[in-house]
């Protein structure tokens, strides 16, 4: 690599890293929404008095 190549690599690494980190943050939020949906579903299952495998397994 010619002179200064490490700086170019560093610059692009920073870009990739931060953009990826941002996507991970977005993904984490989606995961949280998913978990809450699950929790609500379980709650509904319990409320309706259904003792399905799903609800029993999740509500321990």
């Amino acid at each position: 690599m010619s002179g200064g190549a490490q700086y170019v690599v560093a610059a692009y690494a920073v870009i990739w890293f931060l953009v990826l980190a941002y996507v991970v943050v977005l993904g984490a939020r989606t995961a949280r929404v998913g978990r809450q949906v699950e929790a609500i579903t379980r709650m509904l299952d319990r409320r309706e008095g259904r003792e399905g495998d799903d609800a029993a397994g999740g509500a321990d």
Binding site: G3, G4, A5, L18, R29
Partner: protein
């Protein structure tokens, strides 16, 4: 759902463009005669800078639309845009600083208008989130919209003020990339630019889909509590 499809399409487009432009920048574009390899930082650096300005412009328009319609959707668009714009501006400052180190041997030069301007832009839009966190609901959306508009007015002022000062202190203003670059370089600037704009739109769409599901979830939880 149209939002999801848009997010998917833009995500694919952005990925393809980013991959193409990365390959082009590193393997195809010719070496700059003056600066050598470190000029390659500019392809993404400049593209991200312009994309961040696009993001702030979108937030400004979303702010105007929010004040007109009072539709919370525009608040979502505004906040998501500014968040991405802030991410991009931080990237501009970091990559600019790396370039300064490679080119001038120092991480930060207070007389370089580009670096200093972007630092101010980062400060302006970081304050947006401080403002958001200290107000609630309707007021938060209104204040955010107003600040997004006022902030976008400050951006050209910061650009210009730093350059006015610069033109008096140093007659030669460093220009980012010069208009007279060869076409073989220009094409990769254009592709990088398209990639970064697509990346912005993709991140925005994904963010908006997430926000919408979050809001739907909150409504659902509220209804269950009341039931």
């Amino acid at each position: 759902m149209p939002g999801e499809r848009a997010a998917l399409i833009w995500g694919v487009v952005a990925t393809i463009l980013v991959v193409i432009s990365t390959i082009g920048v590193f393997l195809v574009a010719p070496e700059d005669a003056d600066q050598g390899v470190i000029q390659r930082i500019f392809y993404f650096h400049v593209a991200i800078a312009i994309a961040s300005l696009v993001a702030f412009a979108v937030a400004c328009v979303a702010g105007i639309l929010y004040l007109r319609t009072r539709n919370a959707r525009w608040d979502d668009v505004g906040e998501a845009s500014i968040r991405i714009g802030l991410l991009f501006s931080v990237l501009v400052v970091i990559t600019g600083s790396i370039w300064a180190k490679a080119s001038w041997g120092t991480w930060w030069v207070w007389t370089d208008p580009r670096l200093v301007t972007y630092l101010i832009v980062v400060l302006i839009y970081a304050a947006y989130f401080v403002l958001r966190s200290s107000a609630e609901d309707d007021r938060r959306m209104r204040y955010s919209a107003i600040y997004a508009i006022a902030g976008f007015a400050s951006v050209p002022l910061s650009f210009y003020s730093v350059r006015v000062a610069e033109s008096f202190v140093h007659p030669v203003v460093f220009t980012g990339s010069g208009a007279n670059m060869p076409g073989s370089m220009l094409i990769w600037f254009v592709v990088s630019q398209a990639a970064m704009i697509a990346l912005f739109i993709a991140l925005l769409e994904v963010d908006l889909v997430g926000r919408r599901s979050e809001r739907a979830l909150r409504r659902l939880a509220l209804r269950l509590e009341n039931a």
